[in-house]
Point group: D2
Chain length 287, copies 4
């Protein structure tokens, strides 16, 4: 039988690293530390076919070596943003190994906030998680996709859903006042110069997130779809370096509860919260 290796990729996933940035200007317990943490997935593509088809490992950079590399690079990088660290990791693999043609680094951050004004105490407060996927391909433009996951937001009014398609499979009634809740995932794409190591990833992340949240509540929502599109539009408006943005807004339903005894009114006060089934709406908006 004739088959061929159409695509392959490998690397190390879930390389979890933390770093203490220490000013070294005082005894350890009086220094004002910074504390950062990320989980890093490294994936490589390149001249690796022989490993698959011939059992020839000579060009294989072991996944264990990929792991070592992440820790080694974290030594010399400030990890101020996962975007910039992802770039550093991807650049290393392309520069170091000429037979690697593409390196993709996916990162999630655990955000440690300062605990009070302690110089070395921290709390990881946020449920929402910054994400980044950096893809460097030899002789191509760099691509950095920044994002946020698990951003749980709700509006308790100013949301409805009416006049949607009606047939014998429909049972849902029109409503002009419902809870709209979602666990937002957003990813926005920097390309070319905007994806370079000089990008203002912190400022842009702040601008995008702020635009998303502000827009979520600034209008009457006729559907998740409409609100999603407005949010995406506002985010691109706030971040000229981003070419496109993808939002996924699973509907975390809060359904009006039937309150016993039968006949008890429930004027949009008490809701049943469900995880599944859930409406799933996603779109990509580009300039």
């Amino acid at each position: 039988m004739s088959v061929r290796l159409a695509h392959n990729c490998y690397g190390k996933h879930r390389v979890r690293v933390s770093k203490v940035r220490r000013p070294r200007q005082a005894p350890s317990n009086q220094e004002r530390h910074e504390f950062v943490e990320a989980a890093v997935d490294v994936e490589l593509e390149g001249d690796f076919d022989a490993a698959f088809t011939e059992g020839d490992n000579r060009l294989v950079v072991a996944t264990d070596t990929c792991k070592n590399t992440v820790y080694a690079l974290a030594k010399d990088h400030d990890l101020e943003t996962i975007e910039s660290f992802g770039l550093a990791v991807a650049e290393h693999f392309l520069e170091r190994y000429t037979h690697v043609t593409l390196c993709r680094v996916s990162l999630t951050q655990t955000v440690w906030d300062r605990l009070g004004d302690s110089p070395h105490g921290f709390v990881a407060r946020d449920r929402a998680t910054p994400t980044a996927v950096v893809t460097l391909e030899r002789d191509a433009e760099p691509e950095v996709i920044a994002g946020v996951a698990k951003l749980l937001i709700a509006k308790t009014t100013e949301s409805g859903f009416t006049d949607f398609h009606r047939d014998e499979f429909r049972t849902l009634a029109d409503t002009d006042d419902r809870i709209l809740a979602t666990e937002l995932t957003a990813t926005w794409v920097y390309r070319g110069a905007g994806a370079g190591s000089g990008g203002d990833f912190i400022g842009n992340r702040r601008a995008v997130t702020s635009a998303l949240l502000t827009t979520f509540v600034d209008h009457y929502s006729r559907s998740v779809q409409e609100t999603l599109y407005r949010m995406a539009e506002a985010a691109l408006d706030a971040c000229p370096e981003a070419d496109e943005i993808t939002l996924a807004m699973p509907n975390k339903h809060h359904l009006l509860a039937k309150v016993v005894p039968e006949g008890t009114p429930n004027d949009n006060e008490v809701f049943v919260v469900t995880d599944e089934p859930f409406g799933y709406i996603t779109a990509t908006v580009k300039r």
Copy 2:
């Protein structure tokens, strides 16, 4: 063969409810809403043996009925705290069903913070989760156990571990400067009057949490054990209504990374983050 029913208990778990508190003083979209959400487990004990041993269901309050009851009670309760709502649910079951001898209500809260200054926009920001377990037993003192789960905290210095037991199974070296990170679970117990519906559950929760966090960073930690005890002591000091407190502090290890090439120094800068295996330390401190 002679066997007997030594213990039984049943109820409905994961009854998830949200409530919009609406002032009703303005058109819906101009009201300033409050939004609260909890997941509620109800468990009943009482004269239910016949259901198990005889298939006689006549005294069984269906778990579906338990669920209905939670929604019905949420209608008339402000859900300002999960402690007070747990009390309301437990009181209802004891008052309503004379054959119920004990009702235990376990709750976790999803904390919705206001989104900017929006009257109806909210964000569930916190990873840490308030918890409560309310147990009412007929003719006994009420007990309310308040708590917090998933409170992820770290200190990047001012922590060591030295002079512990040495034998041929030990390989860990002494250290006087390490990261101490934990995902804290704390539960504190109100009894008698302090557990009544007039308890200042909000103020006490704030006081306990603040004492725990402040103490975590205010000393050089000679072990998780020592820090745990100090935190517990401070929490009881801050909350006279609490009789006892239990802390569980799993050690979320940040292990000093071996940085390649071999011989590269790593002066407490880069760490490997691991979830397992993990040290587990717990204690209960009472007045």
Copy 3:
């Protein structure tokens, strides 16, 4: 303020170990291996107060040492059952450290079945997980609690629920034909001689599990409660060495679907499967 350490306990959790039992009678690739895997939690109680209250670590056996010990003991033990390995671990800690008064070892097993008739190929097929909790207290009877978790079972008829308590909070109708599905957790207790290292943990586990499954389907179920009790009774009957058994049977609801267009019959054919809220029924049956 006067507080006291009322209880404490510590150890290492999630020590995950696998072992290849190798007959050493042939070249490695022709040996017929056995492959076993467990996750082990070790907890110690004893003379550890000074660590909490004084920062005195001298008696503290580090959790890292606990981890080392598990791997060392796995070297000399066949791990044929998690019960017997738990006993070996607990015995070690009590024998080795005179200031340890209690050792509790909790284990879950990943069951590796032989893959076809391969001498060294294995598949971890089962969703259900064997569990064990071994508690040795100095000068007390040994206790071994064997168990199984995540055993997902269903019967598609021969189950009903009628004549349960009726009031204005009830909305559920009587039914004499429903799906009964549960994710069973069972734990049974060996004490004294039955908990010794000579116990037939394999045979007893097989007997208990078989009795539970057989009984689940051998009768018309008037409630989860009734079926649970019958299963417990049968299990104790099948395993004379067990003193008591606790079953937890969360109701994994399969609710009759409303099929559109309205009026379409659904004669117990199509069901909506839900995870939450769920009925939770548990009981302990003793001789």
Copy 4:
């Protein structure tokens, strides 16, 4: 600012349905039932731009309606395979709604095996999960991707990894005898006639799975890469209707334990089991 909707898609996820196939030839409790369960994600593409950009819902088939449809179609379908049910659901949406241009249905199955020889008792034994993704695009060939997820397999010898790339980032030694364990995800693609409703999805699934498992253990593995490729090749050989197959084989590392006291030999007997970081290897093989 000028932006445009580049892509959008929506639907209902996690529609969980079970079905009892009842022969209706006997009283209910004597029938020999079949019991099947699936979780279904439905996604639609088509003429939905106006919902996003204009808040015009008239063409939007509500996600609630999608859910209703799944239950309604389950009434008339035997759900014998998730592939065939996915086809039925996708065909319905394309046929029914002329403005829908693409329907993608993703399914996972909970496999209920008969419990002993009970006519109506079942146990969901398998950790491994059948999957399917059916994509129907108007005027294009149907595509059915069948798969299996969470298939946990290991070989305790006949696996090594040597002669891989060596530089100063490498610390891993060559080995010619290690444990190779993975949680396999496989997906294979039927197109055209092979993806039609007459496809032998049961027989092909059995053939692919058998080929994957047999090949996993039938050779000395020089790398995960080599074994993966051989497995893919064998699967395509066993299933002429499949055009291509993608395997993902995360390395579930079993690392040789360091056994204390120092110097204790560990001749491939005791291993530390870790979940992360983990090697990740994937490839697609086509005819």
